[in-house]
């Protein structure tokens, strides 16, 4: 099995993301691998352990994105590739998916490409499906379990978690799979993995090296603003007895149409 995992470097979930002077900033908060992508890495490693083969992790971004790649290497991925190009500074999900698809094709003979369900910074959640579309592969999104994977017959059966419930879907390999939290608990990097990752020389591919045909972004952010500040008013309801307090509270709730 040849497996690719696509990961993104994002601000830490604890970071306070705000808009300053029209730019999004998270101060000096650390950048981490997108938490959803850790599930994708874990899933890829589990499939590799079950069916042998190798796992390559790739990311589109600047030098900082090497941190995310090293995290995935420390978890157990065999290879890492950074795709970095000044022309990708304003890439939207379409451009990103074209670049990722080109990288997957350049790696060659890939059976499965895993993604997290979305990145916690952009929260768009369509890159996996778009990459599948560009590659012309089946798109199996929001996957909560891989119930069958047969490299010989090149088939895969997964469970998807959708609003209406669970769907069992079958597809042919090669396929793109985006995973959700239920799929498996991500492992911690091992010390051996950490040593390997810290010494890894990660190759950097440019768009030209990929030979990718990349569109202009179709989505841009002409204006960004902070959400309006919410005024929170606290009112302590008092009364002579619990029943009286409860009655006053119920009236307030009905009055404000909270319920």
């Amino acid at each position: 099995m040849k497996i690719v995992v696509c990961v993104k470097q994002v601000p830490d979930t604890a970071a306070k993301v705000v808009v300053e002077d029209g730019q999004v900033t998270w101060g000096d908060a650390p950048l981490v691998i997108n938490p959803w992508d850790e599930y994708a890495v874990e899933t890829a490693l589990l499939q590799q352990e079950a069916h042998s083969g190798d796992v390559t992790v790739i990311s589109v971004g600047d030098e900082d994105a090497k941190e995310a790649l090293k995290h995935a290497l420390a978890m157990g991925c065999g290879n890492a590739i950074l795709i970095s190009d000044p022309g990708l500074e304003n890439a939207d999900s379409l451009v990103t998916s074209q670049v990722l698809a080109a990288a997957i094709q350049k790696i060659g003979d890939v059976d499965l490409a895993f993604f997290g369900r979305q990145a916690i910074d952009g929260d768009v959640g369509v890159t996996a499906a778009q990459t599948a579309r560009v590659l012309g592969w089946p798109s199996l999104t929001l996957v909560s379990a891989i119930s069958e994977l047969d490299p010989v017959s090149s088939s895969i059966r997964v469970e998807r978690s959708v609003e209406e419930g669970r769907q069992v879907v079958e597809g042919k390999l090669p396929a793109v799979v985006s995973v959700i939290k239920d799929i498996a608990e991500p492992r911690y990097p091992s010390f051996m993995g950490i040593r390997k990752a810290s010494r890894a020389e990660i190759p950097v591919w440019s768009v030209a090296e990929l030979g990718a045909e990349v569109s202009d972004p179709v989505v841009s952010w002409p204006e960004i603003s902070n959400p309006p500040k919410q005024e929170v008013i606290t009112e302590i309801i008092s009364g002579g007895s619990p029943a009286e307090i409860a009655e006053t509270l119920a009236e307030k709730i009905l009055e404000t149409k909270v319920l």
Binding site: K70, H71, A74, S190, F191, M192, I194, A197
Partner: protein
């Protein structure tokens, strides 16, 4: 001079932090109240390799350096002191002593299973009547042909009821002119006939850990279990403390950080007199002191770790790091409670646990008073570093990574 941590160090920090925060933090209050150690802690730390973090790969360790050990201790104690205590006794006081003083055969027998986390190790120096006064040790080890017969009791032993191996110090020469010279060190398998142990309850802190006693009643051990030569027990114990105190210093630094982070969160949430309490200058003063303590404590323990990596004797520097960080962690936790007001006085918040846990480290592995004597002794040149027959080996990346 390079103050930057390597990628490797930062990844170790993240990995250990992830374990402590995701797996231990959600349940620590429950076990602290129960005064019991969560049963998953030791197997999980073994599985993740934390129990062998800075030991060479050929002995079953993970091949990291001594700074990685310190960073791990900081992250562990930022969640709970009991996690760091595991590293102090299993790694600092026992396994690193084996690395320093053990023969190859002893390393194979004892160190390798400890590094892999298959066996848990503890350290038995303190007795009911001998704490700081090590020369007052009464436990005896009497040579009888190819064996030693151990009798005595060890007290305030971390992991007493959890450990498989104990490195203990006992008297082999009752007539030594200097009582320090009559002590020897031994590895004792705690499943031997005549060994009994129990936990001590009712402690102020480290309640989610195991602290207890171990008694030896005519316990026979092979002579090959003696670590070092007869009469080297005091030196071995003191060199073990150089390593144990390092882990305590690093851990206490994590406790300062935890108090600081809790205080920052609370000071920005809690409002009084119409504004968040962080806006008040007296609260800011407390926070400033915590920042100062954290940064200084961190630099002190990292210097000690760097010296260990270089193979430079660090008794004085480690003592200073331990003394400063533990005293500062107690102060930081106390001030964190003050910032939290009445809420800090209840176990709804973590800071009261930080204070209770901080007090222990001001006492064990050399009280603050002992460390002050050590520091003054070095400054006045009453003390000097006497070369040891076996020094802690300097970290060597190639040697540490070798499989054989």
């Amino acid at each position: 001079m390079d103050f930057a941590l390597t990628d490797e160090h930062r990844m170790v920090q993240q990995m250990v932090k992830g374990f402590a925060q995701k797996e231990v933090s959600p349940v620590i209050k429950e076990y602290d109240r129960k005064q019991a150690m969560a049963p998953f802690i030791l197997p999980r730390m073994a599985e993740l390799g934390i129990l062998g973090i800075c030991l060479p790969v050929r002995y079953g360790g993970q091949g990291m350096d001594y700074i990685a050990l310190g960073l791990a201790c900081e992250e562990l104690e930022a969640v709970d002191s009991t996690l760091r205590v595991v590293m102090s006794v299993h790694m600092g006081l026992n396994s690193m002593a084996l690395l320093q003083w053990g023969t190859e055969e002893q390393k194979e027998r004892f160190l390798a299973p400890q590094a892999r986390g298959e066996k848990i190790a503890c350290f038995g120096l303190t007795e009911p009547g001998a704490g700081s006064d090590v020369a007052a040790i009464l436990s005896t080890a009497k040579r009888d042909g190819d064996i030693y017969i151990i009798n005595g009791e060890k007290m305030w032993i971390s992991l007493a009821t959890k450990a498989d191996h104990a490195l203990i110090v006992a008297r082999t020469d009752l007539d030594a002119a200097d009582p320090h010279d009559g002590l020897s060190a031994f590895m004792v398998e705690l499943n031997r006939d005549g060994v009994t142990s129990g936990d001590i309850h009712g402690k102020l802190g480290v309640r989610a850990g195991s602290t207890g006693w171990i008694a030896f009643q005519d316990v026979e051990i092979p002579a090959e279990n003696r670590i070092g030569e007869e009469g080297e027990g005091f030196k071995i114990a003191m060199s073990s403390l150089d390593n144990g105190r390092y882990t305590v210093a690093a851990g206490a630094t994590g406790l300062i950080r935890a108090s600081l982070e809790a205080s920052l969160r609370y000071a920005q949430e809690r409002k009084a007199f119409g504004r968040e309490v962080g806006k008040f200058q007296l609260v800011q003063q407390k926070i400033a002191h915590m920042v100062q303590s954290y940064e200084a404590a961190k630099l002190l323990y990292l210097r000690a770790g760097w010296m260990k990596n270089q193979g430079i004797r660090n008794t004085c520097e480690t003592s200073l790091a331990k003394w400063f960080a533990t005293d500062a962690s107690f102060d930081a936790a106390s001030e964190a409670i003050q910032i939290h007001g009445a809420y800090g006085y209840s176990d709804e918040y973590d800071v009261e646990r930080y204070l209770r846990n901080a007090k222990g480290a001001v006492i064990y592995e050399g009280t603050s008073e002992i460390h002050q004597l050590i520091q003054a002794g070095y400054a006045l040149e009453y003390r000097d570093n006497v070369p040891l027959r076996c020094e802690l080996p300097a970290f060597d990346d190639d040697i540490w990574q070798k499989e054989q």
